[in-house]
Amino acid sequence: MSAFAAVLVLLAMVLLVAAAIYAAGWLLGVARSPLPVVPFTGGLPPAEHAFSRFHVRWYALAMLFLAFDMEMIFMYPWTLVISAVGPSAVIEMFTFLAVLLAGVAYAWREGALRWA
């Protein structure tokens, strides 16, 4: 069986198991329908819906993370060819990383890593 065929079969299986658990909960549970509730914040009712434009303070860190994540796309195939390509592979990759680390150092100095 090819590698990804096994994965597809496993995915189908696990989804079936999840459906079976929900079916078992519906059949065997004490109540068939869910309980309508108010979201819990300690006992007093909330004033608004929670769906809102959440102020995510770590947006600068998310941009930095994207830059590094794109770099990782290069690093994964790089591991396959280190000794084949020789020292230039190591030098190039770690120079690239040093440049990115300079960016991290700048972000750190600017306080992007401390948001609360």
Binding site: L10, V30, V37, F40, H49, Y76, I82, G86, F94
Partner: protein, 314 residues
């Protein structure tokens, strides 16, 4: 040599994963009972099964105007991600999926949890859950890169992304011995992506359970089981990546795989309650300023070693 398992063995992946997860949860119950001064009985060790029974029979809850599609998808995606991540873990000397990019696959499946836990937090239309979901993403931004560098170290040490070859490359010396920083970072990341232990910030008690605050019944079972399955999958992956897979004297390889997985799980479960929660806003600074340079230096060391050896495993 890690060979392909027969096709029917796919069925065993979730079974074995669930078995180890149950053992981990049982051990956790035992440690908790010891700490609380409760007498240890068989019931304490079987507590995870009792919990499953309680949750199966429980009633679900519906918050007003909840986003039901996102909510349920998020909940189901967590254990599914764990099972998919575990498909590349060899058990002994057989593996269900001989993917040539197994290491990347594991990483990709673990990243699914980012979307899943955020959806679980958002979908409930509850403030505490919402804060919990965003906390997980913030935590993710901190742990993910050191984890990726740790995986790169293991892959570079074997010059392959195929998990089977990573196992073979450790025939003479385990990676955990000469890549200790990568191993330590990997174990911390296992706590982080299963949000257990010191990284249970998204589901913390200060948020009344965070992403789990509005869950009951089978919904809660999905997410709670998902966390333990993720922990188990992470511990299971540590064995071929850093601890030599099934290699060992005397006993068959699958026994060694199981023993090593249980050992890693034991350490993770034992240390789980011994540290305060590490919050993402404090951890991000440490992760980016200390751990990333550390793992980069570790990767440099590994690549230099690989260069000097000319591709022959250490």
């Amino acid at each position: 040599m890690v060979a392909s398992a027969p096709p029917w063995a796919v069925v065993l992946v979730p079974v074995i994963l669930a078995g180890f997860a149950f053992a981990a949860a049982a051990a956790d119950g035992i440690f908790t009972a010891r700490a609380a001064g409760v007498r240890l009985t068989g019931a304490v060790a079987a507590a995870p099964l009792a919990e499953v029974a309680r949750l199966l029979a429980g009633q679900r809850r519906a918050t007003p105007a909840a986003d039901r599609v996102l909510w349920r998808s998020g909940l189901i995606a967590v254990p599914v991600a764990a099972a998919l991540a575990a498909v590349v873990i060899p058990f002994g000397s057989v593996t269900v999926s001989r993917m040539s990019v197994g290491v990347v696959w594991f990483n990709a499946m673990e990243v699914l949890t980012w979307a899943a836990v955020w959806m679980a937090g958002w979908g409930a239309n509850a403030t505490l859950g919402l804060v919990g979901g965003y906390r997980f993403v913030a935590q993710g931004l901190a742990y993910q890169l050191p984890l990726m560098f740790a995986l790169i170290c293991a892959a570079a040490g074997a010059q392959s992304l195929n998990v089977a070859q990573v196992v073979t490359a450790q025939a003479h010396l385990w990676f955990a011995v000469w890549m200790p920083a990568a191993f330590a970072v990997y174990l911390a990341a296992v706590y982080a992506f299963s949000f257990l232990g010191p990284f249970s910030y998204p589901a913390g008690r200060d948020l009344a359970g965070g992403v789990m605050a509005e869950l009951s019944g089978p919904d809660r079972l999905m997410l709670q089981a998902g966390r333990w399955l993720l922990l188990t999958a992470g511990a299971g992956m540590a064995v071929p990546l850093f601890l030599g897979g099934g290699a060992g004297p005397l006993l068959p390889t699958w026994v060694w795989s199981a023993v090593k997985t249980l050992a890693v799980l034991a350490v993770l479960v034992w240390a789980r309650r011994r540290l305060p929660t590490i919050r993402a806003d404090r951890y991000a600074e440490v992760a980016w300023v200390v751990l990333i340079p550390l793992t980069i230096v570790q990767a440099l060391v590994v690549s230099l070693v690989v260069l000097t050896r000319g591709g022959v495993p250490l």
